[in-house]
Symmetry: C2
Subunit: 297 residues, 2 copies
DNA sequence: CTAATAGTGTCTTTAAGACACTATAAT
DNA sequence: ATTATAGTGTCTTAAAGACACTATTAG
């Protein structure tokens, strides 16, 4: 193309003389909200283990937020996408490569990192519980799977002259052995005229680094939001699973109990039955299923 | 906090000596996919005008992609969020301030901008057709509303040894007066084991700058995806509207005709009736409604 | 009257909720 | 028999689809 601009330059000439300039640029990090499902210990040999939703966190060994727990993540390097940076981080932290991953949101609040201007392009990853390796090996940054509790603790509506504000406060509690991290995250939507704008605000924060409680809340809400409409939960399942296990996963994410018969009708098209069964254990063995790739969304 | 790191520094000391360093950093732009609904010309005085979905584009006056059409956008400045940058851009381009806006995705393909390393944090904005001002005033960058056509033209499934790939090719056509822009965007999901990864790929591109066809496709899909599950379409409506107009908006976004009775049942809780009616025009006048803020999502 | 849009009534179809029932295993 | 889980049958309820019908205006 040889179109010339108002300075008489062709595109090629323009690019050759182009100076990236002295404009300040942010660092961009790719942070990962990594979920998995694990079994709780069972007290009774014939009872099924309960499922819990877990999140991978890394204990920070250096400033800032030394000793606090943070999402795995790292800076995006030149010549790679945020996606690649996220996958690199995932690989380093979990040893896993082929997992389900999707972009959540980019967080850009100027003061969110005390060091410098850092934006976080956040990804959610889902890994199947059976594939999860143990706690992170290198002593520098200790990794651990935290049990998640996330529940609505306050709902509010405030009237302004030109509209109103709705807010929902959620309590996020993360537990691992003796450690308990706690945060209150508010999701606030301001309605004015035809406009609406939703923000996450950090109300309280104990033990989590940066604004990571917000990113985690964002991940949980995305996971919950997609639970019923898509087949996203299937990515948390191992190769072979029972329908009861799948139902437990839906229940622990959605936060409510489901009816067995209705659940089975609903997921029927997402799974294919196999001829395998669970080992008998004091009750009728259960048929094992696998994902039905044809119908995943 | 006076915890010291392995170099014996407190957080305060660490931050004082912290050097942002020589790591390369990307520029981050906030680009806007701005939709509105407009009426087409009506040929018959008693027929209702049809609705069309439109997108705001700016004609580039300088390199690169001189003469091509691009999404409104600009670089994010220090001490502002990407959101604020997007709103600033929206205000400059449309004069509007309070509109519905939500973050779409961040695009970070290294070569997407030939000048330098630029990521695009993309936002979608919805503005009500009656609020839309004319074509952009300043001669430097000409702005125009393009009529959108977006349709599936090919669906494919490819089998690999360790899984398979599903792809959907969409044809995006944007029209404004004599100008017609055309692109083929492929949405590709690769399934391997329990993993799935979705990407947008630009197959063909005529007249659109950068990778903006991908960002536009992303916006259209978000809008379509939220159409049925949320009340997002209400943000495209003026203060007062008829249920037929609302139905037309749903139809033009969703790309399929709806049944009147069922539609009215479905949106009943999203609107409140008023005592106003449309001006009679050769047929029964229609009751006007407004948004029901109580039930918006 | 016709053409056009507005608005409602109701029967059918489909999906979800509720809940009872049968089946299988180990002790 | 008891405990515990697996799996199905079926009635009820709610929502969506289909389509016909009535209502209102201008010419």
């Amino acid at each position: 193309m040889s179109v010339r601009d108002r300075n008489g330059l062709t595109e090629e000439e323009f690019l050759r003389q182009y100076d990236a300039g002295d404009y300040a640029r942010p660092s961009v990090a790719a942070d990962m909200v990594i979920f998995t499902i694990m079994d709780s210990e069972r007290d009774n040999y014939r009872k099924l283990p309960e499922k819990t939703l877990k999140l991978l966190l890394i204990r920070r060994a250096g400033h800032p937020y030394i000793g606090h727990w943070a999402l795995p993540g790292g800076f995006v390097r030149p010549h790679e996408t945020t996606e690649q940076a996220a996958r690199r981080e995932l690989q380093e932290e979990t040893g896993l490569d082929s997992v389900y991953m999707e972009q959540l949101q980019t967080f850009s609040e100027p003061g969110r990192d005390p060091r410098t201007w850092v934006m976080s392009c956040t990804y959610m990853a889902l890994i199947d519980g059976s594939a999860v390796e143990v706690e992170g090996g290198d002593d520098a940054d200790q990794a651990a799977w935290f049990e998640i509790s996330y529940r609505l603790v306050r709902e509010q509506k405030e009237h302004q002259e030109d509209g109103f504000t709705r807010s929902w406060q959620y309590e996020l509690v993360l537990r691992h052995e003796e450690t308990e991290l706690k945060a209150i995250v508010e999701k606030r939507t301001v309605y004015t005229n035809s406009a609406a704008q939703t923000d996450y605000i950090l109300i309280e924060n104990e033990g989590l680094a940066f604004d990571h409680a917000k990113l985690i809340a964002c991940g949980i809400e995305r996971l919950r939001g997609k639970l019923d409409e898509t087949s996203i939960a299937l990515h948390l399942m191992p190769e072979l699973f029972t329908l009861t296990q799948l139902q437990q996963v839906y229940e622990v994410i959605g936060g409510k109990e489901l009816l067995k018969a209705a659940f089975r009708r609903k997921v029927a098209h997402l799974v294919v039955e196999t001829d395998h069964y669970t080992e008998p254990a004091g009750h009728r063995p259960s048929r094992l299923y696998r994902r039905n790739w044809e119908n995943l969304s």
